[in-house]
Symmetry: C2
Subunit: 365 residues, 2 copies
Amino acid sequence: MDIVEPTLILDETRCRNNISFMVSKARELQLLLRPHFKTHQSLAIGRWFREAGVRSITVSSVRMAQYFARDGWDDITIAIPFNIRETTRLNELAKQAQVQIIVLYPFMIDHLDAVLDNEVGFLIEIDNGYHRTGIHPQARDRIEEILEKEKTASHLSFRGFLTHAGNTYQAASEKEINCIHLQTTSIMKNLKAEFLGRYPDIIISLGDTPSCSLMHDFNGIDEIRPGNFVFYDLMQKQLGVCREEDIAVCLACPVISRDEEKRKIVVYGGAIHLSREYLDSRNGKIYGKVVLLEEQGWSESLEGTEVTGLSQEHGIIRMDNTAFNRIRIGDLIGILPVHSCLTANLMSSYLTLSGTRIDHLNSTR
Amino acid sequence: MDIVEPTLILDETRCRNNISFMVSKARELQLLLRPHFKTHQSLAIGRWFREAGVRSITVSSVRMAQYFARDGWDDITIAIPFNIRETTRLNELAKQAQVQIIVLYPFMIDHLDAVLDNEVGFLIEIDNGYHRTGIHPQARDRIEEILEKEKTASHLSFRGFLTHAGNTYQAASEKEINCIHLQTTSIMKNLKAEFLGRYPDIIISLGDTPSCSLMHDFNGIDEIRPGNFVFYDLMQKQLGVCREEDIAVCLACPVISRDEEKRKIVVYGGAIHLSREYLDSRNGKIYGKVVLLEEQGWSESLEGTEVTGLSQEHGIIRMDNTAFNRIRIGDLIGILPVHSCLTANLMSSYLTLSGTRIDHLNSTR
């Protein structure tokens, strides 16, 4: 490959397989798949989803929603508590697309209704134990207050309840993910049952990549919003959510230093390429696993070979003997990222195995 | 301030003061200040250095060198072991500017000499205990091998020895930084003494932000290359290298959630804005400290108020009561970054207190 600097390689086949897997699963379970596009942030990859039949998406900022709206996406949920400083942008966006936002506070309904010219849907976020954002499922007063405000609002309509079980990322096993999933779905189903009489069209939306990849019972749920599955990564692999051969991105890095004595190599590729996300291991922090780049992709990760240190542009890799002996200065090696969302966000473009450059929202700054 | 989304605020006065401090110190100690521009990566901030009399710079990639060369910088050291995949780019760059690279391997001299049309200087990097890259100071054979190759090279000339005492970042106290500094300078001075007879013009280049900010004895050293001091950050403050009032950047973030019961707020501003760099504290990881934004800058950091969790776009902040009671949904709060280089790299632009947008290399992708 004619690569001179750290470059994020994308295996289109693996990526499309990951998309197909989730599309098929959602179809079987009769769920609306509203994939979270914050992982790839790419119009080109968005089109692969569209080719697979996806019409509704999730994003994590108004700016990201605008990016995809310009490419024809017209059903977008912005899955972060709405930032009232972006009300003007939201109003613009709502002209182009059907938008859903998250509302956590009754005052926000009045505030938005006074400004919006177009209809915007809203979901109430429920905190099921992840404790990031969302209303406690027992805080019915607050939910009712929001719904009371909605009654007189002309431009806001209640679409249902949303939750994000981000605590599955801290789970130690599939059993634990299952346990979180059961608890989450049960709370959400109860909520729906309670409000369905008054709001017959409301939906329940949930689904992080671990639950959506591994779980099978989504009874009573209407919509799932996984994101990371499009690429997967070492964190998901460690959780047991994917196999290594499902990971669809890898950072190609030139070898710039090789220490015979310490069996250590250093690559051009550091914290500003991979991010400082790490996995804990018996031997300390791991910032990535090393693969060999091949014509049609990359090898399995090399035994005993890990990125153990990062500075701004340097990656430090300890290797076992066999691996070390194969590496020369100027070689390209591949690094499987710990957290593909952050790596993609830093790299801000992709190169497919066939040599096509692919866009990322950040490349448009 | 009319800010709608996470925005990196730059206090120009503090930044220019940090620049003046280091310029004056270098002048007093008769050192060439060759600041590392990887921290700010900005042409505008580069010009502030130029106004303060700086003419020579350090960068961490060929791409970064090209960026600054286009703005008239013509004496640039690329302080990362040279990546031979960028030889063509280097050749282009050497037409515009006097460039120094780092060479660690004898073969590289032949390799480069066969390709280069213009003269390029090189420094030999010495590993003084940081163990990232560099040649062991006792490995004289390898140094001599490189110098032997240089004798017959037409486009490469030996400029001296360079080292980076990155281990000062792990130091527990000023005493320990002093100890590392003494050891580093002593090894480098010995090297110079040994080679000065044969190479009368060679220099010794060293200097990370902790040593350059705190140390006073640079006897025998020719050049210093600190970078982070232009902004400083919480990591430097924790090391005792700067005061909080020297920190020149702060991330403005809109408040999107407020949890009365847990005294917790959530801001729009997460790992893709701050980076996942953290400090360890008794209460766990800290990803930033919180300040209140004011007309002319920002307040001191609030007692007992820290960013304790980050997801892609969310920042989770635990507050003490007084601070919590002042914050409303939609407010902007400021976050002092743990590692300003990584935050600036992610944000890819700055907004000064007077409202001027300032460039960053990444905004040109």
